[in-house]
Amino acid sequence: MTAAASPKPPARQARRFVLVTVILAVIYGVWAATLSFCIVVHQQAVRQHLWLALRERPRGAFPDTRTALHAASKWVSLLNAVYPTEPCQPGPAFRLVHTRHDATWAPAQACTVIIAVRHRHIVVHAYDTQGRRMDNVFERLYPPPRRL
């Protein structure tokens, strides 16, 4: 792969190559900025929902799973009444999962805070804009500032 293997492109072609590269870079940069803007707005909302749920979560062990589920159900209804909008798609922002064993069984759903009962405790976790489970500890360490 040496320059001697193929003729040097004429100046006009060289200018066109640079121009096309720059235009493609600009288009990509604008697309990335637009994508980032939308994601930040959505992510901000999910983080606030998660932060609120972690802060207000009923703590301690309930006498039995049925009581815990009942309390969780009432709490989810309250949360959805206060924060009715799911940031990414139509539907509730908080969902109760009726699993008796492990809340990690909950199906991934983008921008949703999942509330479940595990070992008679109410547990909370959230999925980000891409449907990936968020790191509760990290989120709790860095609560979202109310800034939008």
Binding site: A3, K8, P9, A25, G29, Q44, Q130, R132, V137
Partner: protein, 283 residues
Amino acid sequence: MLPYPDINPVGFHIGPLPVHWYGLLEIISFFIGTLWLIRRGRLPHWEWTKEQVFDLEFYLAIGAIAGGRIGYVIWYDLPYYLGHPVQILKVWDGGMSFHGGLLGVMLGCFAYARQHGRSTMATLDFVAPAAPIGLGLGRLANFINDQLFGRVSHLPWAIIFPAGGPQPRQPSQLYEFLLEGVMLLLILGIYSRKPRPTGAVGSLFVLGYGIFRFLVEYTRQPDIQLGFVMGPLDMGQILSVPMILAGPALLWWAYRGGFETAPPAASGRAQPSPSVPGGGGRP
């Protein structure tokens, strides 16, 4: 699991003034990079004087800082900065983007080249091998500052970062130091020891950095305000994709002699070509 070394971010004090490791490492990298460029500039196929290197570094510093900050604003937290535009100027509060810095450096090279009658790509080739020094030491500074750590992991060398909560995490800053710093420095240092076609060294930097950054991002905790942005990819990876795609194209173009164009007439002296023999000369 390894313990976090818990190095004090403040290295020492000069009177009442605390000197942070971060700033110190940046100054050291700037110093080493400058010395290396001066030495490199003495090579017969470059012919850069010490004064010209200092001149160029002024453009590069402005480009890197302005580009890095603007890149962070538009690609990482635009909604916030639209609401708080004054914060954009507070660079000391943190928030720089490598990809923005790279574009800023390219524009800086372009501005310098236009003003001094040199080729932009040849100028980029000249500075590219020194860039991993700053990048690598910057990642070490991130590690010392307990920031930009990795994702939760239970690997034997995972570390509990004080700012990252109680879970052990990947020391992704050290991976970045090794790949974007040491490895890229070796690759570019060895590759650029011989004269190459104009644009080839800069293109190899673009390709190498893009690949390394894309890979390391799989271990890094995404920025909290963004999270993942497209499936399993975070913004660092999204911005590295064009580097991986453009790198080979630019290399191919460089070896075709596509960047061997005459520099625009200006007040400065034209730079001799670092081209391979038979690769098409430049004035």
